[in-house]
């Protein structure tokens, strides 16, 4: 009834090409942005800002990165966490070694480092596909973490290999409180997400999808597979790198190479699978799901079961429920949360009439 496009006409190409073609969507989008930019920092408490929302945003960005590579370009990768590490250590070293390096530039440079490394480890994708490629990117995962531990230069010769990130200062304004750190993460993530959304709708994105769906056919219609695949690796690693830098600067404050282990790569992979492969929106939903569910289960376990069951059993139960829920989700909706959202929207457009 309320969510219907009747009467909304598109009179120009521009109107036809916008991201949200329905007015209600546009209003909703701006309302959500305004909510997260204005209402959340004003009303949310420190715990929510610092321990929940900031990591969700950062993981969303990493998930967008992997989604570009796996969801849009069809190249399986298990190295996302390693590219995050490159971004984090890259940004740290740029800030450390170049006087007066602006924070935003350092983050972008960190992302570019990750992009370069991503291209390097994307080279095998020209010859191998699917699971074989996933195994090849595992090499990136192990090699990068090993290199960061092995060469103390990366961590500025810290005795334990852990880096403590510098303060975030932009134009003399220090981003030191949880609210400010949340806001800067949100701003960067929002800009990059919008960029990604436009990228996948453009020629580049269509080329990625053509290569994903059938690379031989894509080559026949004039898409250069090598360039396209490496481009996907570069863009994807850039996103992961920026996410890694934010992870260090706005979330943890200190990072060690082991923090970017295979577990984290898997987690990001789960995020896109749960959220929806090949969907920017799904990256956000998946990241929120994977970050929030264990925390929710942990809190719920402690307040409900409390002393009733042994703590180690409760901790294991959490894992069991978490795994069970993921399986349940994938059976109910194999295309992820983004698909559920899409179905919901379609139903709304028809509501209250079923046909």
């Amino acid at each position: 009834m309320f969510y219907r496009e009747a009467g909304q006409f598109k009179a120009s190409y521009q109107e036809d090409q916008q991201i949200f073609t329905i007015r209600q969507d546009r209003v909703g989008f701006w309302a959500i942005l305004a909510f997260f930019f204005l209402a959340v920092p004003a009303f949310a408490n420190q715990y929510w800002l610092q321990a929940i929302l900031t990591p969700v945003l950062i993981f969303s960005l990493a998930a967008i990165g992997l989604n570009i590579l796996t969801g849009y370009a069809g190249q399986l990768s298990l190295g996302s966490a390693a590219f995050m590490a490159v971004g984090a250590f890259g940004a740290y070293n740029f800030m450390l070694r170049i006087d007066g390096m602006p924070f935003i530039v350092a983050i972008i440079l960190g992302g570019l480092c990750a992009a370069a490394v991503g291209i390097l480890f994307g080279l095998p994708s020209l010859r191998i596909k699917g699971f074989y490629l996933a195994v090849a990117t595992l090499a990136a995962q192990f090699f990068i973490v090993w290199a960061l531990v092995k060469f103390p230069w990366f961590s500025n010769h810290s005795s334990s290999g852990v880096i403590t990130t510098q303060e975030i200062v932009i134009f003399g304004f220090a981003f030191d409180s949880p609210e400010k750190k949340y806001l800067i993460s949100l701003a960067i993530v929002a800009v990059l997400a919008l960029l990604a959304k436009n990228l996948v709708r453009s020629t580049t994105g269509r080329a990625w999808m053509a290569v994903r769906d059938m690379d031989v056919a894509a080559e026949v219609i004039g898409i250069r597979p090598m360039r396209t695949k490496l481009q996907a690796f570069a863009v994807s690693s850039f996103y992961c790198g920026v996410a890694g830098a934010l992870y260090g600067y706005t979330y943890l404050g200190t990072v060690e190479p082991e923090g970017f282990n295979l577990d984290l790569s898997f987690k990001i992979l789960f995020m896109i699978i749960i959220g929806g492969v090949g969907s920017i929106m799904g990256s956000f939903l998946g990241a929120a799901f994977i970050v929030l569910l264990p925390i929710f289960l942990n809190v719920a376990m402690h307040s409900t079961l409390g002393g009733a069951v042994p703590a180690s059993l409760a901790a294991n139960l959490e894992l069991i429920i978490f795994g069970g829920l993921i399986i349940f989700f994938l059976i109910v909706e194999p295309h992820g949360l983004a698909r559920l959202w899409q179905i919901g929207k379609e139903k709304l457009r028809l509501w209250p009439f079923p046909h």
């Binding site: 715990y47 321990a51 990591p55 005795s159 334990s160 923090g259 719920a300």
Partner: protein
């Protein structure tokens, strides 16, 4: 379509959370960021089990600390930094006075919350792990690497080897292999071993083992070829039993192997079978259930079926006893703080910090606690947040750990010098002005 269920679910969750918050009143709250699943669960369950049992003992036997009962809540970190930060944020505001102490039992989480604890005024206790240079309390007022640090331990191990050889001067020309876990934790040993090698004239052979460490053939081949006099095992988790088994296969005598305290628990030796026989390891607490404090836990806690351990036979194991040490130190710090800030009321994190900084546990106190010989005596000051720096060496006889030395101290001036140097570098990097300890009360 599912609006109703969502609202109902949300309301239910909110209700649960509210009851959880309301429960703690006039209690000293202690947040426990534990790990009972994940790769290091065997250590985590033992240590947190022991710690919780000790706090239960205080509540059950003594009715709390001067009448203030202890309350705690666990938060599962899975030994993961991000989860650890979430736990820290979740627990910090709980209880009437907030979280009084944070002991994450993970070097990674320690680093991640290092800046946060200073802002939130919550003491961070890292017993036997974490940032070694935090022992300089002038630069790190909120961090307490109590009892002993990695550097003190390495130095104590070298001293122990020296006495075994019949004097420190006998170390000249000897060769010591350092078989370490290739991670931040393993690398903590490098700087101090190099210093000690230069001082005593022995040679250090550093051999890295990649995580997790269940493949060590090439490393032990290298050891066989270079024939070191001793092997210092700086391992963690599955790396330890593998090292012992591979040593047996290579024919390296286990009597010449000395482990650090994360390589010296039953979880390390029992899987290695008889390959572990004769192996010695350092520890800042000893194994054994024959101490009055453990007997009290058995009587007052398990006697009332309030114990935390599922497997009661782990009482008296190295990790369990280490948990009890965590409990003793936390409780005594709160007791010390209560003497200054008023008995019988819950204290804030800042007040408990004072308690940690003035913590004195001498032999008399240890006897009163039923822990003579169980842990070293402790004297924490404003400048020295380590307090003891002593370890005992235990040898595995095939069935249990046997204490073979008294408390062994490291080369204190050397270690302290390195700590101060490193802390000063940190202070400079961060722009911290060290406190003047002569002006502190």
């Amino acid at each position: 379509m599912k609006l109703k269920t969502t609202v109902l679910l949300g309301a239910a969750v909110a209700g649960l959370l509210a009851t959880g918050y309301a429960a703690a009143q006039q209690q000293q709250f202690i947040g426990l960021p534990s790990y009972r699943v994940g790769p290091y669960a065997s250590g985590g369950s033992g240590i947190y089990g022991g710690w919780i049992d000790y706090m239960t003992l205080i509540n059950e036997r003594d009715g709390g600390i001067n009448g203030v009962k202890l309350a705690w809540e666990e938060c599962e970190t899975e030994y993961n930094n991000a989860r650890g930060v979430e736990c820290y944020e979740r627990l910090k505001g709980k209880g009437t006075t907030g979280n009084s102490v944070f002991q994450p039992l993970s070097t990674g989480i320690t680093y991640s919350v290092l800046d946060r604890v200073a802002q939130d005024k919550i003491p961070l206790v890292t017993m036997g792990y974490g940032r070694t240079d935090a022992a300089d309390g002038r630069v790190f007022p909120w961090v307490f690497p109590l009892i002993t640090t990695y550097w003190s331990q390495a130095s104590a191990i070298v001293n122990y080897i020296g006495t075994k050889e019949g004097g420190m001067d006998k170390l000249k020309g000897k060769k010591i292999a350092l078989l370490y876990h290739d991670s931040a934790y393993g690398k903590e040993s490098h700087a101090i071993m190099d210093k000690l090698a230069a001082k005593h004239g022995f040679e250090v052979l550093k051999i890295a083992v990649a995580h997790p460490g269940n493949e060590q053939q090439s490393q032990w081949l290298q050891i066989r070829q270079s024939k070191p006099d001793y092997v210092v095992l700086w391992g963690w988790g599955v790396m330890n039993p593998t090292a012992l088994r591979t040593a047996q296969r290579t024919g390296f005598p286990r009597e010449k192997m000395v482990g650090v305290w994360w390589s010296g628990a039953e979880e390390d030796t029992i899987p290695a079978g008889d390959a572990a026989k004769g192996y010695t390891s350092a520890g800042f607490n000893v194994a054994g259930a024959n101490y009055p404090v453990i007997k009290d836990i058995d009587k007052f806690v398990y006697g009332k079926s309030k114990g935390n351990m599922e497997d009661k036979s782990r009482l008296g194991s190295v990790y369990y006893n280490r948990g009890v040490v965590h409990g003793i130190i936390t409780v005594e710090a709160i007791r010390t703080a209560q003497e200054k800030f008023g008995k019988g009321k819950p204290l804030t994190g800042e007040q408990v910090r004072w308690g940690f900084e003035h913590l004195k546990i001498d032999d008399k106190k240890l006897a009163a606690l039923g822990a003579t010989g169980f842990m070293p005596d402790l004297n924490v000051t404003c400048a020295d947040h380590e307090g003891a720096g002593k370890v005992k060496f235990q040898q595995w006889d095939g069935a249990k750990w046997k204490v073979v030395t008294d408390w062994v101290e490291g080369d204190k001036p050397l270690v302290r010098g390195m700590i101060e140097e490193s802390a000063a570098a940190y202070a400079k990097e961060k722009g911290i002005t060290p406190r003047d300890c002569s002006k502190e009360s």
